[in-house]
Symmetry: C2
């Protein structure tokens, strides 16, 4: 079984208990719909890659961390798409959960995914704490979203909380799963999250539907901050290049450092929209 | 410090990290608003009472379980009050969270409370699993709420999931915190939850604003199942009496059994609205 298939099987198994025959059928269906088929699964793959680079044989803990993080990511997308937030009708190339199942089931599916993430990670207290920090208040995804409700946005804090924190959880939980010190891995994730956000902003402005299959031009439509409007197109591209270099440099020493650097470089390159890459025809 | 004050202090401490100065101010305020001042705090008090009846010296674990359960209860109230569900404007005698802070912050505060519950319980994997079961899918609060989205409601499964499951988590997590087998404690919580639901239905129909300070007549207004409409007033009162007897009988042997039975009886009596109690003038 290749690594991608292994991850999908792990996600299916980790979600299986929620779809027990006694679950209200629409909720069970909404949970499956929110998680499958996935986007690029960048976060769980990063988690597994870091764990493998740090040590071998920690597969169970690493998969638990990867599944928990992907469920939390999916939950954040479901709630973020709600009419009271972005009101996005499409996600991952299909109608968003609230469009397909209604608003009530979208709220509940998001809630149940958060709960299931912690059920899956419960046997690993350190991993549970790392992912909780990445999604709750004051520094996680909820806080990131909540900056959108403030009269003045702290742009750095906003993007760190909304995007960086969960990437940092990937690298830190991956290290923790392998039994090594998680703290030095924080910077890699935060920088990668920052790069990812810039790439996402570039795609949004350039009108290129990216990894998530969501509509473009949303930031302007929703009055959200965007790095391209702040730095201009060339400035944003330059920032992205700089960040990708810093990501690689920040990887701590570990047995699989070279292979991990290569893998992260590949993922990072894939972030830059082909249509925007330097030297593209 | 008396037991009630100790619990409030523990709740404040467990929520404190979310209100760090870097948290978006409105989210921090909404989180405090959702948890303080509380209702009767029946669930965390039950958790602590069971733990103390089973063993002494497990205070840290028991308080963690109690705080996690209360946060999850508060989260469920915040999301349940949203316009897409009950659309309740009042809760615990004040405007509900979405009325005071807007719908977006109500969604986020609920999410962040779920996350914080698991952050608080992270050091106790068994407790984390017990509370996850009580709030997620297929048998927890999310599933209970989701039955309201189905064309046909399984009334027994609905009330077990929506109310019984979290009461069962109280008794089971209390036992687990004390280091004893949690399974025999499930029945006490489920029966107590059932009794609580019947008492709530009686208050709703009789127009008596109960523990939660919420408007009455909501079940009929929202087309939700209610035991009084099913069994009639006398039938519902009789069922309540029977259930309370079964709760006491179901308490497993433990060092503090007699004191716990007395405490649960007091709580149970308080559930029956005075205006409805037999023999009331």
């Amino acid at each position: 079984m290749d690594a991608d298939t292994l991850l999908e099987v792990a996600l299916r198994n980790a979600l299986a208990s929620t779809s027990h025959s006694s679950c209200p059928p629409k909720l069970a269906a909404a949970l499956q719909y929110a998680v499958f088929p996935g986007g690029a699964r960048i976060r769980p793959k990063l988690t597994l890659a870091v764990s493998q680079a740090c040590a071998t044989g920690a597969e169970h803990a690493a998969l638990a961390a990867a599944c928990a993080i992907e469920f939390l990511h999916c939950a954040s997308l479901v709630h973020d798409d709600l009419p009271c937030f972005d009101g996005a009708d499409y996600r991952r190339g299909k109608p968003s959960v609230h469009v397909e199942f209604g608003e009530r089931l979208a709220v509940l599916a998001g809630d149940a995914l958060i709960v299931q993430a912690f059920a899956v990670a419960a046997d690993y207290p350190q991993i549970a704490k790392i992912v909780a920090q990445a999604v709750g208040a004051p520094h996680g995804i909820c806080a990131g979203q909540a900056w959108e409700c403030e009269p003045e946005i702290d742009l750095v804090e906003y993007q760190r909380a909304k995007t960086g924190a969960l990437f940092a959880a990937c690298t830190m939980a991956g290290a923790a799963a392998a039994g090594v010190d998680a703290a030095p891995w924080r910077a890699v994730g935060m920088l990668l999250g920052e790069a990812f956000q810039v790439a996402d902003d570039l795609r949004d402005v350039a009108g290129i539907s990216g990894e998530l299959g969501k509509p473009t031009g949303q930031d302007a439509a929703n009055g959200l901050p965007n790095m391209v409007s702040k730095l201009g197109y060339d400035g944003a591209m330059e920032l992205l290049e700089t960040l990708l270099g810093r990501v690689i440099a920040a990887i701590p020493d570990c047995p699989g450092r070279a292979a991990l650097a290569k893998q992260i470089e590949l993922v990072s390159r894939a972030m830059v929209p082909k249509q925007l890459a330097r030297g593209a025809a």
